[in-house]
Amino acid sequence: MVALEGLRPWLLQRLTAVYLLIYTIYIVIYWSFINDLGYVSWRNWISSDINQILLGLFYLTLLIHAWVGIRDVLLDYIKPFLLRLMLLFSVALFLIGSGFWLIKILIMVNA
């Protein structure tokens, strides 16, 4: 099992990367056809059901992707155990907090 230890984060990183790429292509293509962007059309667009779901999935995959990536960076460069643990914990809280923030924004849009 030791040999398989790194496989799950490795796979997770690539699967989330694929969604992030697809969403980016969707946004770039969609918005390159829109030349007049005002508050009302922007808010209407983002608050449609499908775009709320796609945006929610974007941030979900982004936060997972960021977690695996930053975790790798910290494991490579931070050696002292306690410091490493504290930094990993801070990053986790930072990302979970970001997730709650997005939920708050989506609730605001639906109000």
Binding site: L21, Y39, W42, L62, V73, D76
Partner: protein
């Protein structure tokens, strides 16, 4: 024990990196920058959706030279991270594995990146 015997430390200054190594380091650096940009993206998203006055404060904020610098930095990070990431995904699919194509795909990334960034800089500043 297996986790401590693997090579986890490299002295980057002493190593002369090939182009694929350089873009790889910048993949990591841009990833950290994008991580730090997450709360700013949420802040701007929230402000742009709150009401019309806050929406206009976002658009006027984006016109300031200081914020343009950071916007360009984040856009560059995003494009570099995405292009090098796609290259890594293709390498995972066993493409670009020969020595020559490792090098040329790395240069390909740099060329595409410079072209896209030039268009964006022209679009933002002209």
């Amino acid at each position: 024990m297996s986790s401590t015997s693997r090579p986890v430390y490299l002295n980057l200054i002493k190593i002369k990196l090939p182009i694929s190594g350089i873009i790889s380091i910048f993949h990591r650096l841009s990833g950290v920058l994008l991580f730090l940009a997450i709360p700013f993206s949420l802040y701007l998203l929230q402000l742009s959706l709150k009401d019309i006055a806050s929406y206009e404060s976002v658009t006027s904020l984006m016109l300031k030279p200081v914020s343009r610098f950071f916007i360009l930095l984040v856009i560059w990070s995003f494009i570099h991270h995405l292009l090098t990431g796609v290259r890594f995904l293709l390498i995972d699919l066993d493409l670009f594995l020969e020595k020559q194509s490792v090098r040329s795909s790395a240069w390909g990334v740099v060329v595409v990146e410079v072209v896209i960034m030039s268009f964006i800089i022209v679009g933002i500043f002209l």
